[in-house]
């Protein structure tokens, strides 16, 4: 006969194992959505560390320096002097930017850059045979006379008129007629301007602008 007691023990062990497995599976199914939600939330919103690192830009970190450039800048702007100790001032975690402060710092920077540029200009190069006459002129501050080139822009108004006319013929839009009237007026063709202003008005009686263009063109034709 079978040793049932021993077998029963094994059966209880098997059942316990099964129970743990099922329990673990249920637990996983329950916790999985929470886990996914937590991970999504974690990766979606930036951490405070990330925010700080984003906000520490070179402009916002003001370090007291012994170089004359910065001292000059700080003397020009008394508020910059507030940060005299060698501490790094971090921007607050709340992304509020002090526009006045930002403007002041940029102005200070500009002063520094201007100073640097002036200092650069003061540096004189040793006479060298390897430099071209043009380069030497730049160093000495005597720019060579260059030929001025004229760039001429040409506009073909007649092409514009043609395009507008075909457009108007296609859709009979009073706006197109008004535009043509304006264009003719600008070009000094007052008769055509009158004609197109009347066309625009005949299509849309409420278009006040067409009357205005017509009146202006009419006054011009009387003058002439």
């Amino acid at each position: 006969m079978i040793n049932t007691k021993e077998l029963e023990k094994r059966w209880y062990k098997y059942k316990a194992k099964n129970f743990i497995l099922i329990f673990a599976l249920i637990l996983i199914f329950i916790l999985l959505p929470y886990g996914i939600y937590y991970l999504y939330d974690y990766f979606d919103t930036p951490s405070p560390k990330q925010e700080v690192s984003k906000l520490i830009t070179p402009q916002e970190v003001v370090v007291e320096s012994s170089t004359p450039m910065v001292t000059e800048a700080t003397t020009a702007e008394p508020e910059v002097e507030e940060s005299k100790d060698n501490e790094v001032i971090l921007a607050p975690t709340i992304p509020i930017v002090d526009l006045d402060k930002e403007q002041r710092t940029t102005q200070a920077k500009k002063v520094v850059h201007r100073k640097q540029a002036e200092e650069k200009k003061l540096v004189k190069a040793k006479p060298s045979s390897s430099l071209t006459a043009q380069e030497l002129a730049v160093i000495n501050g005597n720019d060579l006379k260059r030929e001025k080139q004229k760039i001429s822009f040409q506009r073909s108004s007649s092409n514009y008129m043609d395009v507008m006319k075909t457009k108007f013929e296609q859709n009979k839009n009073p706006r197109e007629a008004l535009l043509l009237a304006k264009a003719y007026y600008k070009a000094g063709d007052y008769i055509n301007a009158e004609e197109w202003a009347l066309k625009a008005n005949s299509l849309d009686k409420n278009m006040d602008e067409s009357w205005f263009v017509f009146a202006k063109a009419k006054s011009q034709t009387w003058k002439t």
């Binding site: 006969m1 079978i2 049932t4 077998l7 029963e8 094994r10 059966w11 062990k13 098997y14 194992k17």
Partner: protein, 270 residues
Amino acid sequence: MKSKYSEIKNIFIDSVDSNNYVDLESLSFNYQVLEESLDKPLKMILLFGRPGTGKSMTLNKLYVNHKDKREIHYFDAPILSEKEFLKSIYEAMSSQHIPQNMRVNFDGLLKYCQNLKGQREVIFLLDECQLYSEALMEKIRLLSDTRVVKFVITLHKTENEDVIAKEHFKTRIWEVIELKNADEEELEVYIQKKLVQRGFVEVSNALSSRDIKFIHNCTKGNFRETNKLLYTIFNIYEYYDLHRPEKITSNKNSKKILEMAAIKIGYIHD
């Protein structure tokens, strides 16, 4: 004091006895094909399938059903020695006893068979043929070529032998009958028939379809495995019936006992 379960468990003791043969749809179909092929002018008939699919039982049933009608001989255990095999064949055919110090010459046996052509047809049922050597199988084939001797052989089919078996017999003109494991429905019929045949209707009714599913999952429908599992189940029942009868009910099978039996055999692991 004796439990009814000791009798029930004995139903499932694995034995090749035609009285224990359970007539299932697939098995009876295969048996019919086998019977029909005996009448055909085929030299050899191959019955193959995985262990425990009912090959030996089918062969045994064939022998029992035909031993009075035909000249049929059943070798239930393989005779591995060629000398002994030829001697057994000759003895079965001639009804003569060959002394121990004598042997049968194969050419002589072949000539003996050829002389009987048209007069007799002897059928040999050989079980477990996978154990025969290639040379002996070749001699069996030559004997069957005389058309006096007809062989019905059974062969185990394992995972690796599957292709080999098919390839090996494809080239020969043999009738091949493959026996397969039972499906869930067939297994239920098998268990119920086994129990009802012995008058345990109540026990048969207590087996739910869920129990059958569990048994099928464990045994994959293999008859031998099923017998083994059911024997263990009723063995455990016997213990409870004798020592802790309050733990069992007669109208419903205990899942716990089923699982305990499966643990005992190793189908499930604790």
